[in-house]
């Protein structure tokens, strides 16, 4: 039985890199695209997506979009620029402040969650607009940890055409980032959605990625029960809290359910892959 100390999330970055660059290239070109657009936050995940996509399609075929809000940290902008300069991808900066301020003015009582969600969705609007303008598809940046914990904005940062990173835990992405040669400043800073000043993922979630990734690996990949995870050395409240999050936010991982009426209903008995015919 695995325990908290001998869980090994080490990946072979070369294998992962081969599969993911092939995935990006294939899934775009088979539907007639050669170009991609990526929202570059200055953080680790979008930097990795950008590196992989540039490798898959060529940097000239990638548009990296920086979308700061007026309170976004300068470091975030600077780190995104370092990725752009290093890869030589096309780039654009669009400040979303003017998009979201009218909403915040109308609802001054809006809390940080509402404001953060609005910003994430404003960025989605910009990316999907550029997707059409740049004749490209949006490549996603959500990782397995945040998808399982529901730590994302529905129709916001989770919106994309394809997601190369969604089956890698945050700690595994860190290994991939090192192998890809992502700038040290991005690798070493604490993960943050940068939705408000001083926000960090781990501060907001209440645990570290190193801890939660190992627990998720047991719960999801290894199919351990809650009791097994506790026996493996995880604190009972931590295990039950994480298990609850996985269940509670499952809706974010699915298309909205369609009420079945006919004999053949989309999602239930009308089943085709997206890659149908390609």
């Amino acid at each position: 039985m695995l325990n908290i100390k001998n869980i090994d999330l080490t990946i072979n970055p070369d294998v992962v890199r081969t599969i993911l660059t092939g995935f990006i290239r294939t899934e775009l070109t088979r539907v007639g695209y050669t170009r991609a657009v990526i929202g570059l936050s200055g953080g680790l995940d979008s930097a990795i997506s950008c590196f992989l996509t540039a490798e898959a399609l060529g940097p000239e075929n990638v548009l990296a979009v920086r979308m700061p809000y007026k309170t976004s940290s300068f470091d975030s902008l600077d780190h995104a620029q370092q990725v752009i300069d290093y890869l030589g991808v096309q780039s654009m900066t669009f400040e979303i402040t003017d998009m979201v301020e009218p909403l915040f003015t109308r609802f001054p009582e809006a809390n940080q969650v509402r404001r953060g969600n609005a910003m994430a969705r404003a960025r989605m609007i910009v990316l999907y607009d550029q997707s059409e303008a740049f004749h490209s598809l949006v490549v996603g940046t959500s990782n397995k940890t945040e998808i399982l914990l529901g730590y994302s904005t529905l129709y916001g940062d989770s919106a994309c055409a394809i997601n190369p990173l969604g089956d890698l835990y945050k700690t595994q992405l860190r290994q991939l980032a090192q192998a890809l040669g992502i700038p040290e400043a991005i690798l070493s800073k604490p993960p943050s959605a940068d939705l408000w000043v001083g926000q960090t993922d781990e501060g907001e979630l209440g645990f570290t990625y190193a801890e939660v990734d190992r627990l998720l690996y047991l719960l999801v990949d290894q199919r351990y029960s809650i009791e097994d995870c506790i026996e493996a050395g995880f604190a009972p409240a931590f295990v039950s809290g994480v298990a609850k999050k996985i269940q509670r936010f499952h809706f974010k991982r699915l298309m909205p359910p369609i009420a079945k009426l006919s004999n053949r209903t989309i999602g239930y008995d009308f089943l085709y892959l997206r890659d149908w015919g390609t």
């Binding site: 990946i11 072979n12 294998v15 294939t26 089956d167 595994q172 008995d269 085709y272 015919g277 390609t278």
Partner: protein
């Protein structure tokens, strides 16, 4: 006797049979030009793998009057072919199938016996279960075909061995999965282990043609192999890259290996039959023969 075997480690277009046919015919010419005698395509090579509701729409019957099989049968006058397709039987059941074509004739059709229906697999929802496993005679001796999940059960390779197959032709559309610190995916290691084990235990040739490419988020890892009757790896295709994998097969090696290691001679088939009869009589088998 020498045989040049070719494994077509291809990508396919999902549900586009004419496009896949064109690729088959092109590769048949290329393999022939490279000196190959037999070209083996992966599982569902004419259709793509995750067919779901496409399963019934892409079905064909391996007959000379079928528009897809007519040109394949024509090509088989130059080079023997194993092709993967969906077979619609006379009573309109749909099978995952592989056909052996040679000299313009359909020599053998194998229906996949085991429908993988767990984890990421959902074959049993869309396909019928095959119900026979037989070796067949070719100009290169007696061969046997199995499709992916078939060879995750020990009995089909064992039965083909007893039925005289000297080379087992395995075909797959194996989704890549299982990342670790190792340079090879878990799924690739698992398949390579059992291929090598069958070659060693049955002192026969074991060829495996696996596809490459992607279907939605699934990747197919390629890495097609040929193991010899000593269990040695003779050739392996690259992981994740399309290619024609060529191998020289020296069928006289069967003589030499079995002189050293007479496992076939010593196999106690009557004991197997007797014990199997006893086991099945005292323990009620379910429909699929599991005790």
């Amino acid at each position: 006797m020498q045989l040049t075997l070719a494994l077509a480690q291809i990508n396919t277009r999902l549900g586009d049979v004419p496009a896949n046919l064109e690729k088959h015919l092109h590769l048949a010419s290329e393999a022939r030009a490279s000196g190959a005698d037999l070209l083996v395509f992966p599982e569902l090579s004419l259709t793509g793998y995750v067919l779901q509701d496409l399963a019934t729409a892409v079905a064909h019957r391996p007959r000379p009057d079928d528009p897809i099989f007519r040109p394949l049968l024509e090509a088989s006058r130059e080079i023997d072919l194993v092709v993967g397709f969906v077979d619609e039987d006379p009573r309109n059941r749909f099978f995952i199938a592989s056909a052996y074509l040679s000299g313009g004739q359909v020599v053998h059709v194998h229906h996949k016996l085991y429908m993988a229906t767990y984890g990421l697999f959902d074959e049993g929802r869309f396909f019928a279960w095959g119900d026979s496993v037989q070796a067949f005679d070719t100009r290169f001796g007696r061969l046997g075909i199995l499709i992916c999940e078939d060879f995750w059960h020990a009995s089909p390779p064992y039965l083909l061995w007893l039925d005289g197959a000297e080379m087992l032709l395995f075909t797959s559309a194996s989704p890549g999965r299982g990342i670790s610190r190792e340079p090879v995916l878990d799924s690739a290691r698992w398949v390579e282990h059992i291929n090598q084990a069958y070659a060693s235990m049955f002192t026969c040739f074991v060829a495996h043609a696996n596809r490459v490419g992607y279907e939605d988020g699934l990747n197919f890892w390629g890495g097609s192999t040929l193991f010899d009757p000593s269990g040695e790896l003779l050739v392996q295709g690259k992981y994740h890259e399309e290619g024609l994998v060529l191998a020289e097969v020296d069928l006289n090696q069967l003589h030499r290996v079995r002189a050293r290691l007479p496992l076939l001679r010593d196999e106690r088939t009557s004991l197997v039959q007797r014990e199997l009869g006893r086991i099945l009589s005292v323990r009620l088998p379910n429909d699929r023969g599991v005790v």
